[in-house]
Symmetry: C2
């Protein structure tokens, strides 16, 4: 190899030969974190299994991250290629590490020169280095301490410490106080509980979304979901507030009029957690209720029958005369076909998926709306209509960089997997913008209930610009993410979340800014891009997202554009010309069956 | 659909449904040629089979070409999607059409308002419109004349012309003078000869390159090549100049010393065209020659034997005593294994491929160099060494936009085809920069002959920056194509050409700026990109090209980067981070066997 400019592509060619030729060898490319950062000539101390270190940074590019993108592109984004990031001895700029978290960052090199002596002469790191290391440790990136040893006498306190080994000339001896500092300063707090430990096992693990409408869930799945105390507490609180509001509307608990019996229908009762939470809420308020538990899964119905027979709360109200029917009536069947004996004041359901509407809550609740009191029938909603818990839900998206997730999807090597959204505990990813709201659904729809099903315009970054047809549950949103001042980024896909309002200010959220504490039922959703899209520094990213509905299925289609998006009503758009294809055309790769 | 900004992606989604759902329907998207060009409200008159026209331009993007790129990307570059280009009534800016020639441009709409009356009141077009139409017709794009009809009286001369039809109110009547002008002004000249007509049939038709070393050519292939008079005239002229130089070096034809007999070896004699051209050259100069015709293809050897027996010129020199051996000696075998009775003054060969060295001329001539006189042995070269015809050859490349070629390769739907260079008569393509020289080979290599085999640095756009190893025939070139002021472009691949100097200023070239007139033996070469790469406006394009050599095969690897490339010796590079993978790693998809 000759010529300065030739080093990059020729290094890539050599790496290609290795990654295509040799078995399981991995290659780590050593790159400086800081633009123009000098690479030390010394060899790195330590390193992972089978790691060699190329010097892609030798051609001194203006931005090591861009050099890495080119190297990775030249090498077909091989999963054998990783990054070994050289931290500077001077304080790293805040946020400089963030864009590397979504990359295959295998390790970071911390030079001993980054340490300064504290008052007692012991080595410590400044705030910027501490923050950088905290980011690395949180992402599970190993840190390599690199020499050369400090000049004699610089760390007097450390030298005065009793040597743990007799041979004071070995490198482990001089390095010991640095390691001790790191071990002390970045001691990981113990995981809060067994649930969090379980969650840790799911980090960046792709799962296909559930299809609870088409398939019957397994008992183990119910078991897992029912363990989420935070969720059912919120549902109980929502029902409690509703019943309180009802009692208050009728003059209070000791008022002139007796509070009317509230008819609650739990649609999709599963093994009964919403039934139990609703009954407990009713008892806490002292409001009379009649509750229908509708469930289509025959296995779950058996459990419900057992609970009805065994649990007193499910039976007749306390102090009722003999022969009074139990408060709970079981309905074994699909809510869409059931003919109810009376109409409900409130429909309680937990049909939301990781992207809110993706498990067909809108379609189910539209189908169940006929079970609900219409306006004028004495329900608790506006005009006397029945209401739905949840009352509304909104999905959120942002573009993310997540090379590991993308590589895992790519590993399937087919279009189908590249166009399927996955439920995943997002961990090693870099958000490329704040989230923006996507689709909002309000129940019940139309005149009677809690509002119109027409999407509201969000006030976030862009906000959905239009709906394909407000009369059904198909939707289109064009989300423009402005990135003034942001560095170049590689878009691997979209991270999705939701917020829902159950009733009267009681909410559940997987949306990071408002995430419900302790709630573990939902992981985010990841919409992959078949081919990553490069967004140059400062260029906006526009996401197009469709929710499509046919008589037999519901699916999403999505596309990402660099630049683009609409400014004002005149439709003025500034596009860079770079865009992905529209993913999942006609639901060819993924859909949810009705 | 609602919302101005939503029109583009939603139009793409509808188009996707059509292109994925319906059989063979094509969709033409109507776009204005000129930035901000108004789209007429009227329907287009005429159109091709099954053509509908979407209005992707309705959102008034700042650059219709970029809008088209996004639309095509969103639609997975479907071959069903074509462009219907709206020409403006005002003069189109020069060169505005060029970037559309590489696109699937199906037709162009010419508004009647573009015509002005000449002195006689007949409709004519201005120079800019004439040039635009010439470009369209040369590319085989149909032109659609569109109304509304001109105001009455504007074209008085036309109105005075005798109407060809009796119903003067029909549109064909008012349109007739415009058609007549077009038919007159753009009457295509007849194709020069049958050869050009044959060539026309090969436009944009991809062919696998020949492997004459590994395979034996068929008689039909020889037949085709031998018809190329221009090529053999050049070879004859090169031999003639060489013999003249030799005679002159020995004091001229009537000089004191008799001219020495020149030993010519034709390596790869085929069916004898170089033998015949060399003998004719010798006779024209009156120089004595002894010629060895080396050919490994047994079928071709049979033809050579026939010619030796039948053609007087191949026999003993005129006026020689009986028993004198013929001037031509046949050698049936591989030049690489032949042990010659004497060494040659000149090796004549025609081993070049469309990319110069791609049919292994360097390897063959290196292998044959031992047949050639070394320095001091009385050859015609410097120091008395033998020489090679050709003496040297250089390949040239430039990035091109050629959606049809790319789609044809993509149609194979495998990596192998996407990483194979093709011989193709490039027709519907847009060059994105001037060509740059890539690899140069000089024969014979080393001390004796015409120079060192070390690559020369070109002085074109960038020029090759380094050679992997000047001691063998492996090469690396990094070519930077600056594009200041150029619009955004989609790179589909590389167009390749070559120039060769046979001897003493006699050249052959397929390189457009120096193309040998009338020579039809070589079409250009096309190196495809597996995925097109978008180069933003003004951004440089850097091409990396390797010629790789192993003991059993030779292959190319190539990659394209946006921005990138080296400026000075310090290796300062400015990359956008966008690059293709390195194509054909380790020759996995394509190689030429040794």
């Amino acid at each position: 190899m000759a010529g300065g400019s030739a080093a990059g592509p020729n290094a890539a060619r050599v790496i290609n030969q290795v990654t295509h030729g040799l078995g399981s060898m991995g290659i780590w490319v050593r790159l400086p974190l800081v633009v123009g950062g000098a690479m030390p000539a010394e060899d790195v101390a330590g390193g992972g299994a089978g790691a060699g270190a190329g010097d892609a940074g030798e051609s001194a590019p203006s931005d090591p991250w861009l050099a890495w993108q080119v190297l990775r592109a030249l090498g077909e984004a091989s999963t054998r290629l990783g990054v070994l990031l050289q931290l500077p001895a001077s304080p790293p700029p805040p946020g400089a590490l963030a864009r590397w978290i979504g990359e295959p960052l295998r390790a970071a090199v911390l030079p001993v020169a980054a340490f300064t002596p504290n008052k007692r002469g012991c080595p410590v790191l400044g705030k910027a280095h501490q923050e950088a290391l905290a980011t690395l440790f949180a992402a599970g990136v190993q840190v390599i301490l690199a020499g050369p040893p400090p000049p004699p006498g610089r760390f007097e306190g450390a030298a005065a410490a009793p040597p743990s080994s007799s041979s004071s000339s070995s490198s482990s001896s001089w390095a010991a106080p640095f390691w001790e500092y790191l071990a002390y300063a970045f001691r990981r707090p113990p995981l809060p509980d067994a649930e969090a430990a379980l969650e840790a096992g799911y980090r960046d693990y792709l799962q296909a979304p559930l299809q609870p409408l088409q398939d019957n869930l397994e008992s183990q799945t119910y078991e897992t979901f029912e363990r989420d105390g935070a969720k059912y507490e919120a549902y109980g609180e929502a029902v409690r507030r509703l019943l309180e509001d009802r009692v208050r509307a009728h003059g209070g608990a000791g008022g002139a009029q007796p509070a009317p019996t509230t008819v609650i229908m739990v649609v999709g009762a599963g093994r009964g957690p919403l039934v139990a939470a609703s009954l407990a809420a009713a008892d806490s308020v002292g409001a009379p209720v009649r509750l229908y538990a509708v469930e289509k899964n025959p296995n779950a119905v058996i459990t419900l029958q057992g609970r009805l027979a065994a649990e007193a709360a499910w039976g007749p109200p306390p102090g009722a005369p003999p022969g009074t029917p139990p408060r709970v009536t079981l309905v074994a069947g699909d809510m869409r076909g059931w003919v109810p004996p009376e109409r409900a004041d409130v429909l309680v359901s937990e049909l939301l998926g990781s992207f809110g509407d993706n498990e067909l809550s809108p379609e189910c609740l539209d189908g169940a709306q006929r079970l609900l009191k219409a306006a004028g029938e004495g329900g608790p909603g506006p005009g006397g209509a029945g209401i739905s818990i949840p009352a509304s839900y909104t999905s959120f998206l942002h573009p993310i960089s997540a090379s590991r997730l993308w590589a895992d999807v790519k590993g399937y090597d087919d279009l189908e997997h590249a166009e399927t959204p996955y439920v995943v505990k997002l961990h090693r990813f870099t958000p490329l913008a704040e989230t923006a709201p996507v689709f909002t659904f309000v129940h019940p729809r139309g005149g009677g209930g809690g509002g119109d099903a027409v999407m509201e315009d969000g006030d976030g970054a862009g906000g959905p610009s239009s709906s394909l047809n407000p009369q059904d549950n198909a939707r289109y949103a064009s989300l423009r993410f402005d990135r003034q001042g942001a560095p170049a980024a590689l878009i691997h896909g979209l991270g999705g979340y939701f917020e829902t309002e159950l009733y009267g200010g009681v909410t559940l959220s997987t949306h990071p800014p408002t995430h419900t504490p302790g709630m573990a039922s939902w992981f985010p959703i990841y919409f992959p891009l078949a081919t990553p899209l490069l967004a140059p520094a400062g260029e906006a990213i526009t996401v197009h997202m469709w929710r499509c509905v046919s008589p037999v299925k519901v699916w999403y289609e999505w596309a990402v554009e660099v630049g683009g998006g609409g400014g004002g009503g005149k439709g003025v758009s500034v596009s860079s010309g770079a865009a992905t294809h529209i993913h999942n055309v006609n639901g060819r790769s993924y859909f949810v069956g009705l």
